[in-house]
């Protein structure tokens, strides 16, 4: 951390987040969306670690929350993929814009 | 013991030599490079002679000699095999995803080699004494699934995909009990660093191994089963079951790419055994002999056990395989953590009686419970 300015890391994580968000908003494949969400979560994790290292908080705090985030990510993926599989089995598609029964 | 630190002395000697001529950073770099080179050399060599060992042992088990033509006792057989692999044609299927097909075997070897970093080969002979050593091992070995996927997917072959998926399912399943089986050891030694774990098993002629405790024994059994499954060796070799899937995920590989897969597999077998030794069998601890002899001795003993299993056991059925992991090993490993906790909370003699009883009881309870979950017997009617 002494090596790199905090701003650079933050910009990096911002870009990572932006890329992930773009993927989330534009990928048609639901698995693709899930993957992109993982990117966003990772960007947030990086920030958590970095902030914990540079502010007056104890350095464990950031990592603990990062661990929580990782656990939640695992949950998201597990449930999300289960839904995808169920969807694929019943509708033979995993494109988000082809699953639009819930509209007017 | 004069032979014990022989390798360390050698390295120190060399580094001292460097320090006289080069700046500090070069010495550090050299230190790293030496370790790396040793590992890079040792890995393939070990792999080569493991294959020979396996073929010889299997031969003995099956009442034949095994390779004995090339070199004395067939000692040069692995070299011959290597040469054959190098000069073989590299076939890539037409529809394959070429880049990934190429990348897969390469990526496979990397984690297998990386694991060597934290293996304590002897007293002070750990390449990098990471303070998260054992976690590092678990993490790195969990990467192994990705290259298998890559290889299977890129081959565009039904057998490959099936094998890959089986491999992934199996490795994820067995990783859970394996990790949990390690936990009591960490509780006992209160560290994640591999070298420290080994040190904590010293004392009493260096025979204070964790396997000599009830939870250690149970943990070792669980770990060892999982280890065999992790490196896809019989009786857990579903992903590459010849009779069902030809060769599983590496069906479409040949030549040097195939050799890499092969190498990764054998190195995994070795490192998993080495970690088992580190965790449960006291690592390099032992009386009289140099530490590294103890270490390699124990490790090869475990490898031999693996080979012995291969020669003896039948292959699992898929559902049994998963059931074994989730219904037997996983709960047992969870209970083992509890038992280990009891061990540390109760005074010594009571702890022995209590935990030993609990281990035996829980083992048989789960054996019994799993019996009831076995699907009803099928009756096969022979065709007229």
């Amino acid at each position: 951390m002494t090596l790199i300015p905090v701003e650079h890391v933050l910009i990096f994580s911002l870009l990572l987040f932006a890329i992930g968000l773009y993927g989330t908003l534009t990928r048609r494949n639901i698995i693709g969306i899930l993957i992109s969400i993982e990117l966003m979560l990772n960007a947030a994790n990086i920030n958590l670690v970095v902030f914990a290292k540079t502010t007056s908080l104890s350095p464990e705090t950031g990592q603990v929350f990062a661990v929580f985030v990782i656990a939640i990510a695992a949950v998201t993926v597990a449930v999300g993929l289960a839904i995808v599989l169920a969807l694929y089995r019943s509708r033979k598609t995993i494109f988000a814009d082809e699953v639009h029964l819930l509209k007017w | 013991m004069i032979f014990d630190p022989v390798f360390i002395r050698l390295k120190a000697l060399f580094l001292d030599l460097c320090a006289r001529f080069f700046p500090e950073w070069v010495v550090m770099l050299a230190s790293i490079v030496i370790s790396a080179v040793v590992i890079l050399v040792m890995g393939p060599v070990i792999m080569m002679y493991l294959t020979l060992l396996e073929r010889k042992l299997l031969g003995r088990i099956q009442n034949r000699y095994g390779p004995n033509r090339v070199g004395i006792w067939g000692l040069l057989q692995p070299v011959a095999d290597g040469i054959k692999m190098f000069i073989k044609e590299d076939i890539v299927p037409a529809h394959a995803d070429k880049i990934i097909h190429l990348l897969a075997p390469v990526v496979t070897v990397v984690p297998s080699l990386m694991v060597f970093l934290v293996v304590p080969f002897g007293n002070g002979m750990t390449a990098v004494n990471l303070n998260i050593g054992i976690l590092y091992f678990v993490a790195i070995s969990s990467i192994t699934t990705i290259p298998i996927f890559m290889g299977s997917w890129a081959s565009r072959n039904k057998f490959s995909v099936l094998g890959g998926m089986r491999a992934a399912a199996q490795m994820i399943s067995y990783e859970a009990p394996m990790t949990l089986a390690i936990v009591p050891v960490i509780m006992a030694s209160q560290t994640l660093a591999t070298a420290t774990i080994v040190e904590s098993q010293g004392g009493g002629f260096g025979m204070n191994w964790f396997i000599f405790t009830p939870w250690g024994l149970l943990g070792f059994i669980i770990y060892f089963f999982c280890a065999i499954a992790e490196c896809n060796r019989p009786p857990f070799d579903l992903p590459e079951a010849e009779s069902e899937l030809i060769a599983g995920f590496h069906t479409e590989y040949s030549g040097m790419k195939f050799a890499l897969f092969y190498m990764a597999e054998y190195m995994n077998a070795f490192t998993l055994s080495a970690i088992a030794v580190t965790l449960f069998l006291g690592g390099w601890q032992g009386p009289f002999l140099p530490s590294w002899i103890w270490f390699f001795g124990k490790t090869f003993l475990l490898v031999c056990v693996m080979i012995w299993f291969r020669g003896t056991f039948l292959r699992f059925r898929v559902d049994h395989l998963m059931g074994f992991a989730w219904k037997f090993l996983l709960p047992l490993s969870l209970i083992n953590i509890l038992i280990a906790g009891l061990w540390f909370l109760t005074p010594a003699i009571a702890a022995w009686a209590l935990t030993a009883g609990l281990v035996v009881a829980s083992f048989f309870v789960f054996v019994k419970l799993n019996k009831t979950f076995v699907p009803e017997k099928r009756t096969y009617v022979l065709a007229d």
Partner: protein
């Protein structure tokens, strides 16, 4: 030592660049399998960054959970849902442009904020390895409640995923 420091610095920036490139690959590649592999690579890169930040434990967890478990499951799902030949259909939907514009605006705004903020740099823990004991203690004392909640959530998700993904009985 400066050389080593410099090397590390360069390595860090290279890692960041690599991660960003792989991330772009994740969203841009048409082949989902490739993007998944890109993601794995990006994640490993991030684990490397964690190592750089002296967060060893987190790095190990990142690899163990993300690469070892999450990615495997994702790839598993990809292999189950894609046909073997792979689809050549359009992989991005029609709102790419508004999304891109919005995100550009977001990046601009936040980058501005980042650059304008005077970030405090405390010297206390810099460079020190975060001890595994410290994390364990934090998990078991201060954060024990969220820790337990996470456990429950994991169990619930596990069961839920199994039930959702299970094929309905024909009966």
């Amino acid at each position: 030592m400066e050389i080593l420091t410099l090397a590390a610095k360069i390595g860090a920036y290279a890692l960041m660049t690599g991660v960003l490139l792989f991330a772009l690959g994740v969203v841009a590649l048409r082949n989902l399998f490739h993007s998944a592999l890109c993601l794995a690579a990006a994640l490993i890169g991030i684990a490397g960054l964690y190592l750089f930040f002296r967060a060893d434990f987190l790095a190990a967890v990142q690899i163990l959970l993300y690469v070892g478990a999450v990615m495997t499951v994702i790839i598993f799902a990809i292999m189950l849902t894609e046909h073997l030949s792979g689809k050549t259909t359009i992989q991005h939907n029609r709102q790419s442009l508004p999304a891109f514009l919005g995100i550009a605006a977001l990046v601009t705004v936040i980058a501005k904020v980042i650059l304008q903020t005077p970030w405090p740099v405390t010297q206390k823990a810099l460079g020190a390895h975060t001890s595994v004991e410290g994390i364990g203690t934090a998990l078991m004392t201060v954060y024990v409640f969220p820790f337990e909640v996470i456990s429950v959530v994991l169990i619930a998700a596990l069961i839920g995923a199994v039930i959702i993904a299970k094929r309905e009985n024909p009966s």
